[in-house]
């Protein structure tokens, strides 16, 4: 090889490395939970503190488990997508993360409704830690047996829902 080609090759390799490396989103942390059973928890329901929500309730159907909070700006961006998913018949369970009950209820009213079948009210954020939540919104898919199969960090948008979320859920629904 021509020795003048060497610096060029090194430059090209660096360019490729930076192109890929800097293109990655550092906020996306691979979840340690994928393939594992959903963490155990038991929390009061947001609307009705007398009722309890626990991890057993995620089993039996494919569940979209979504951590949100009224103080979280990007949760507002994805809210209409969640409402759409609910209209399409998907089963959503919410985790209201480190929020005031009144604020969360107001938030749901203001943004056009409550897309969740039930909402676990995690005032202290302990259950958030169990799920490895670092920044809301975070969305998990839990299969019928209660195994976490997918995680999306950040607001859900159409491409992710149509290309990843829905195909995965359809596939998981086929499993017994």
């Amino acid at each position: 090889m021509n020795r003048h080609m060497i610096p060029l090759a090194v430059f090209a390799a660096l360019l490729l490395l930076f192109w890929v490396g800097l293109g990655l989103n550092p906020k996306v942390i691979p979840s340690a939970l994928i393939g594992k059973e959903a963490p155990k928890f038991e929390l009061p329901e947001l609307h009705d503190p007398q009722k309890m929500v626990n991890n057993e309730m995620l089993k039996g159907q494919v569940t979209i488990f979504n951590a949100f909070a009224s103080w979280c700006i990007s949760c507002r961006q994805e809210h209409h997508q969640l409402l759409k998913l609910q209209r399409e018949g998907f089963y959503l369970v919410g985790l209201n993360y480190k929020d005031e009950r009144q604020d969360a209820l107001m938030y749901l009213r203001q943004l056009g409704g409550d897309p969740y079948a039930m909402i676990a009210y995690d005032y202290k954020g302990d259950v958030g830690i169990e799920w490895g939540v670092s920044a809301t919104p975070e969305t998990f898919v839990v299969d019928k047996k209660g195994i976490v199969r997918y995680k999306h960090t950040g607001p859900l948008y159409r491409e992710v829902i149509e290309n990843e979320l829905i195909p995965l859920i359809r596939k998981l629904e086929q499993e017994s």
């Binding site: 942390i29 954020g125 830690i129």
Partner: protein, 159 residues
Amino acid sequence: MKVIVGIFMVMSFLISSSAYALKAGVPLEFENAEQEALYNDMLHELRCTVCQNQSIAGSNAPLADDLRGHLYKMVGEGAGEADIKKFMVDRYGEFVLYRPNFDPSTYLLWVGPFLLLLLGGIVLRLNVRSRSKINSSSDLTAEESELLANHLDSKEEKK
């Protein structure tokens, strides 16, 4: 005056740097010195996953506060370093450790700098060797030596 300001700044810095051991202004209490040392060590070993370039010691994010609370509780219950790391890695993944474990996914991370150093060393050696060849092959012919001598002489005379 400058000295006083300097002392004041250093002191306020020292005070603020120990503030992480406090929660809501109340000093934490430990059963023994080992527990306290473990708590302080782990504060710097664990990454705050929200503000990714800070350990949970230095971060004011609410999550860091919660993780400090969890850490304090675990230390109080007698958990060891391995237990604490496992708890965090199980939830937040390897990323939560500032010094990730040495396993196949991190081999390149740990060994990479030394590989680069080795590569640099090899390139340097090859370079030096090829240059020393240039020197050794630069013996002058008789004609060239004469020319050089004449040239030097003429310079001497000018002085």
